[in-house]
Symmetry: C2
Subunit: 455 residues, 2 copies
């Protein structure tokens, strides 16, 4: 048997190299291995090191690895993690496997993990840690010192503050660790604590929480149930992840990605969601094509119009996405509230008008120089101006509209905005060109309705 | 004079309403006032409250307000702020005014602010706080308690850790505030400190620092000069701002915005930078238009081609921007290193091929159903497939190329990628259509070169 083991290349690889690695580097290495190899490596490492590496894994990236790990191993490793880390990982398992894995974790930890799993992943409850130390208002500082010393080994999220609760576990105050160091040992917590405690509700959205942290530079905030009991702590370090995640989600949703795709996501996983949105984009592209189709006879008479289609659409689309990006970002960072929509719209319309005039004039002039047709230049310039206004309008109204419908304002927004600018741009451009081509009949038609029009 | 005062509406507004506001709300209110009114209000508020509100201002948003504040008032308010906050604000003043304001700030604070201003705003030095407490290794815990108690009033960034330095101010270790609470008072810092201290260099880029915090969930990191002396601390709370800022910058640079525009930035400030990029986009749009122009005679013969131009360009552009968004984001979060470029390219090419086949087939079939021309369907499908491959290729190569040239990989990247997909798409589509139209002469030409070709 021993010789057979030696012939197995996985078995003879010296572990020493891995044992010397810190948890983060090890996690990075594991994440790049095929799931089966990663699973074998985790099984061979000392349990505490394997658990530390697991804690550093990016849960979203590690679904295949988690699926490959034998349940008993996964249970014993998760039992060694902080409950919120364990919950992050377990959250990605199928419900049946989740129950199986959780049932083999020590009861207390398993209850703690299960408690965290009740909250949506993007709520305060989903990102908080429920390992924290609560003090009582009637304790003296010295009593606290004793209590803290007794619990020294626990890994808790103290984020420089300790929270004070009453007998019903309701939050009544906060003291800083510094206070415990500085103040006289015989003073009571109730005398030195601050009673105004910034906090979040357990179901608050993580984006709102990130805005609070950004504005006030908190190092941590306590999380309360609706009855005022404290159930956890959100540390600033966790909020950094939230901000990255939300930014990635916004950027991706805007252009029709899943919101969770990574550069090294296996292509099999990316294929379907991308194709879905490309198909939706296809429908919108056909909408733009039908506008061109409406005016096919105009293009047949005046082929050079086709040359300017990409300019009208491209400029309008770019301007619309500039506006959209500013608005989506302002919504995410909390810079604009609902009442600011009008101000933002006004600003964008002014910019659309001015840039439309400037770009319209430039495009019209270039067109005149290139093609020698003054009329064509005027048509291109006018269509450009109108499309820049459509771009400004849709760049603001699309995200505000989505939000009013309680849809993520980023969702497919750039696809919608470019559809508006394509459709509107082609309609203005080819419509104006058609009016020009048929000017005599248009004039005749107008005269039949407005008999007083001068001849 | 008293009656004259009463007739001035600004003067009679009761201050009470503002005095009851917390600093953040007050800052938000001030930021929405016209600069002159805001300046008047700040002058009338109690100095400490005005300083607190100033500390909460978003520096980037407040350039006009800072310009409107009289220098003596600004100097005395800045003197009350933490040096890193003061430096953030002063950094936005013109150099001459900066010197004037700084000269009236108390010498010690002014030196501290000036020290911070030496570092680039997006480096560790630019985001750190230089108010921190350093311990000595040979102090006992009890001595530390005395020292800390003596400095209790100072606002320092302790972020739950205290750093230990030697006589040359070089960082030699770290103790947690909890250690000071838990351990016996007669132990020396050198015995209980941890000697391995994660840290950053003063000129490290803020994006790299954000990646470190995200990976390791630090609450704070010490900042070292190249000789190992500690010069500041970056708290996690500050990194939240950095992450938001970098995400905003990436999103904006991609689409040709300044990287610093906000939804409520006055339009006068946004006008020029936007117009600049719209003009650059115009040049690229003309590049796409010239490709169409090359094939004008083909379109004159086969007008329906114009109808499909927006579909080829729109789908290719959307697919390219999907790829680009994934790559830019992966670069920002540190998910891909230089060596991962090939893997990412491979994944995107596979997706481009598969989605190109799927979308090409769909577009080709729809085209055949709509227009009844099988040949047109094949041309559209083939051009679609080729353009999806061009989209994948440019979506990866553009950001990697920009980075290789030491340019921000996000800069104008979506403009470049959509130019590639427009130009390539039109070229494939109209080029193939021309080959089909002139198939007889093409076949004849080929035969003259390959005489063995069957008739």
């Amino acid at each position: 048997m021993a010789t057979e083991h030696k012939s197995n290349p996985t078995e003879v690889k010296p572990l020493g190299k891995y044992e010397a690695m810190n948890a983060t580097d090890l996690a990075g290495h594991i994440q790049r291995l095929p799931p089966e190899e990663a699973s074998t490596l985790l099984a061979r490492l000392p349990e505490s090191q394997a658990a530390d590496a697991l804690a550093e894994l990016d849960a979203e990236h590690s679904i295949d690895l988690l699926d490959a790990l034998p349940s008993p191993l996964l249970s014993s490793l998760l039992g060694l993690l902080a409950p919120n880390r364990a919950a992050d990982l377990i959250g990605y398992l199928h419900p049946a496997r989740r129950r199986e894995v959780l049932s083999a974790v020590p009861a207390e930890t398993s209850a703690s993990i299960a408690a965290l799993l009740r909250y949506p992943v993007d709520s305060a409850g989903g990102i908080m840690s429920n390992r924290f130390i609560a003090l009582q208002a009637d304790q003296t500082i010295e009593e606290c010192h004793h209590m803290l010393r007794a619990r020294e080994k626990e890994e808790t999220e103290d984020v420089a503050y300790l929270y004070v609760t009453d007998a019903q576990k309701k939050l009544v105050g906060v003291v800083s660790l510094r206070d415990l160091v500085f103040r006289k040992p015989d003073r009571r917590i109730g005398e030195i604590m601050s009673r105004e405690v910034a906090h979040v509700q357990v179901d608050d959205d993580q984006e709102k929480i990130a805005q609070l942290f950004e504005r006030h530079h908190y190092l941590g905030l306590p999380v309360l149930e609706h009855d005022g009991t404290i159930v956890g702590v959100v540390p600033a370090s966790e909020v950094i992840d939230v901000v990255q995640e939300e930014a990635t989600e916004d950027m991706q949703l805007m252009v029709g990605l899943s919101g969770e795709e990574h550069a090294l996501t296996p292509w099999r996983r990316s294929f379907k969601p991308r194709l879905l949105w490309l198909n939706i984009n296809l429908v919108t592209a056909f909408a733009a094509a039908s506008v061109v189709n409406l005016f096919e006879s105009t293009i047949a008479q005046w082929t050079v119009l086709a040359v300017f289609l990409p300019i009208i659409a491209g400029q309008g689309g770019n301007a619309g996405i500039q506006t959209l990006t500013v608005i989506i970002r302002a919504m995410a960072t909390g810079e604009v509230s609902a009442g600011d929509g009008k101000k933002a719209l006004f600003k964008e319309l002014i910019l659309g008008l001015l840039n439309g005039l400037a770009i319209g004039l430039a495009v019209g002039t270039l067109c005149f120089i290139w093609k020698g047709s003054f009329v064509l230049g005027v048509v291109v310039a006018a269509a450009m101006l109108l499309n820049m206004l459509a771009a400004a309008l849709s760049g603001v109204l699309v995200p505000y509209g989505l939000r009013a419908l309680r849809i993520d304002p980023a969702l497919a927004s750039s696809i919608i905005v470019t559809t508006v600018t394509d459709v509107a741009g082609f309609f203005f451009f080819l419509g104006l060109a058609t009016l020009v081509l048929h000017w005599h009949s248009v004039a005749g038609f107008l005269k039949s309705w407005v008999p007083l029009l001068p001849n």
